[in-house]
């Protein structure tokens, strides 16, 4: 895991350096009263003119100690900046993932068990539509309908700032702020889980061990719950890591649209303002999340499938 992260960090740092413009250009964009010489002086001061490998060495050395440098735009340490928002993003991602599975697993089970029924056809249609819908279009639609026209849910932010922290009302308000972003994400994220589960159930229900279960007199609902589902859930578990990757990409759009103060929105803002230190730190975190997700998949798969257990 460590070598992967190191390789990733080099790649990210190098690519970021290749982008046109740097933090100085970003910081003084639209400020014509700063001359080119002054900007050059600032660059020299912050070591931005050193070769990239030197800059990388400096950066990674600090990063290992948890210091990702100073944000040029926010004028505060990147670590501190991220710490304030990472909670929101994790909170949003976990909620999205849970809701995705809560919706997708029953749908996949129904579609797989009653293949060809109207319910199955409906689910498959929903699946294609959700797969084809871009998240930013759908999220905007949700925002417009439920946040603006119907006004059922707040249209932005993570919590009403007037509410005191730690009260029940505070928790309730946070949840209310989560509804739209979570639904926008999870209603579109279900397709892979539904499709995998449906296919897997269709395949599993033909297997010999299912016939054995029926021959033992196991009631039909238990045949599906105890025998078919147990076997069909394996690829879903294996897919979790990939699902996390999808969440990270999704959170960029969702957080921006719902002005949710998380890492995704920070990412877009930082790219726009060339806040280079923040961008590299964020990409590195996303990369780490993908690696951790994949590892998590392996661990879960090893837990649910005795055939690949070690020792």
């Amino acid at each position: 895991m460590i070598p992967q992260l190191l390789l990733l960090s080099i790649l990210i740092f190098f690519l970021a350096k290749q982008m046109p413009g740097d933090a100085v250009t970003g910081a003084f964009m639209g400020k014509p009263n700063v001359s080119a010489e002054q900007m050059e002086k600032i660059r020299e001061q912050h070591g931005l003119n050193d070769p990239w490998i030197v800059q990388y060495g400096r950066w990674i050395g600090d990063a290992i100690q948890g210091d990702f440098g100073q944000s040029f735009v926010h004028k505060q340490p990147v670590t501190q900046l991220l710490a304030g928002r990472i909670g929101n993003t994790i909170w949003l991602s976990v909620a999205t993932l849970v809701v995705t599975y809560v919706i997708a697993i029953p749908l996949g089970m129904i579609a797989g068990r009653w293949t060809g029924s109207w319910a199955d056809q409906f689910i498959v249609t929903y699946n294609y539509v959700s797969f084809a819908t871009p998240v930013f279009v759908f999220a905007l639609l949700m925002l417009y309908v439920f946040g603006f026209v119907l006004n059922w849910f707040p249209s932005g932010g993570s919590v009403d700032i007037r509410i005191e922290e730690g009260t029940a009302e505070y928790v309730w308000d946070r949840l209310k702020h989560l509804v739209l972003p979570v639904l926008s994400g999870s209603l579109l994220l279900t397709y892979s889980t539904v499709q995998y589960l449906r296919n897997e159930i269709i395949e599993t229900k033909m297997k010999d061990f299912v016939k054995t279960a029926r021959a033992k007199g196991v009631p039909e609902h238990a045949v599906y719950r105890r025998h078919v589902l147990r076997h069909s859930i394996l690829p879903i578990a294996a897919f979790l890591g990939y699902e996390i990757t999808g969440l990270i990409a999704g959170s960029v759009f969702i957080e921006t649209i719902f002005s949710y103060p998380g890492l995704g929105r920070l990412f877009i803002d930082s790219i726009m303002t060339r806040d280079f230190t923040v961008v590299t730190a964020l990409v590195l975190i996303s990369g780490a999340a993908v690696i951790v997700g994949t590892m998590l998949s392996d661990i879960i798969l090893r837990m649910v499938d005795p055939r690949i257990r070690l020792g």
Partner: protein, 338 residues
């Protein structure tokens, strides 16, 4: 105990139903081992699965009656059938590699029929499962109880499947090629075990196999199936000593034997036709014995009771000879002539 009457099981292929089991009538008595033999594709397994109602209903049509202790199994709902399956009627499947759930420990799988059919506490169930494992010759039962199928050998898994079938002391056991997937030495052990268990339990067994050796060892009566029909039904002794139907004779003749004849084994020409191409009139075996002329077959062959308990389909057996026999006779004739 089990009476099958005029059973016809048809499968849908390209929107048409084709019978794989075509008008079979059979009776299995208590404490009897009835073997059904035939080539692959003759409808043996389809028959077995019909009895337990294990064919996918949307692709299968089953006609006739299967009477098990006064109830017609074909008219029961799935819930009613579940009261019988695994309890009074159990099945041992062909392939022990795939018939066990790969993610469930052996103990749980053996306990499952008890869970639905018997009222036992968790402890009693475990105890019974361990006893069953012991009974099928697994002496490290405590260990096997906790293991997953992939940790066991094929023979062990087949023993587990047998233990599972015996979990609720069934009155009738359907064994669908129980030894086919095993290697020869293990086959012998499993047959020995089944014989022993049958003696103890007095259960009826419907043994489905294509292995005449297995039949000879275990069965009381034998039904020979060809292309969905029974062509000969006889007590074991009669079948081996006085086989009549051309198919039975060809089968017995294609076995290597340790005594008597030498030289090449007999090979039955052609193969069992696929069910959608099968000609359903006349003697179905006729195309595979082309040297017997058409007039010698019955137009609509029926089972004739040749001797008490000995039934043969079609009259062609009266004129049938095997090509090798004829050659043998000719050689003998030429020897005596000189």
């Amino acid at each position: 105990m089990l009476t099958i009457h005029n059973l016809r099981t048809s499968f849908r292929i390209h929107d048409e139903f084709h019978p794989a089991v075509d008008g079979i009538s059979l009776t299995i008595h208590k404490n009897e081992v009835l073997a059904i033999v035939g080539e692959s594709g003759c409808g043996k397994s389809a028959l077995a699965l019909s009895i337990l109602g294990l064919h996918p209903p949307e692709r299968t049509k089953i006609e006739g009656t299967i009477e098990f202790q006064g109830q017609n199994l074909l008219q029961l709902s799935t819930a009613e059938l579940n009261q019988i399956r695994g309890k009074r009627l159990a099945m041992i499947f062909q392939d022990p590699m795939t018939a066990l759930h790969p993610l469930m420990i052996i103990g749980r799988q053996i306990e499952e029929p008890m869970k639905y059919h018997l009222t036992l506490s968790t402890k009693e169930k475990k105890q019974r499962a361990l006893q069953l494992l012991e009974r099928v010759g697994i002496h490290n039962n405590e260990q096997v109880y906790q293991q997953y199928p992939h940790e066991l050998s094929g023979g062990m898994r087949q023993r587990v499947l047998i233990a599972m079938a015996l979990a609720c002391d069934p009155e009738l056991l359907i064994a669908d090629e129980p030894t086919t997937a095993l290697d020869v030495t293990i086959q012998a052990q499993i047959m020995e075990l089944m014989k022993e268990l049958q003696r103890q339990s007095q259960a009826g067994i419907l043994l489905i196999t294509h292995d005449l050796g297995v039949v000879a060892e275990m069965a009381d009566r034998v039904a020979v199936m060809y292309a969905g029909e029974i062509v000969e039904l006889a007590p074991i002794h009669t079948l081996f000593h006085n086989p009549l139907h051309p198919y039975t004779r060809s089968l017995l003749h294609s076995l290597p034997s340790s005594f008597g004849q030498k030289g090449r084994l007999h090979v039955i020409e052609g193969m069992v036709p696929a069910i959608e191409h099968l000609k359903r009139s006349g003697c179905r075996f006729a195309p595979r014995i082309p040297w017997i002329s058409n007039e010698l077959h019955e137009v609509n062959p029926v089972l004739h009771e040749i001797a008490p308990q000995h039934f043969v389909r079609c009259v062609c057996h009266q004129h049938f000879y095997l090509p090798t026999e004829r050659i043998g006779d000719e050689i003998n004739a030429s020897i005596t002539a000189t």
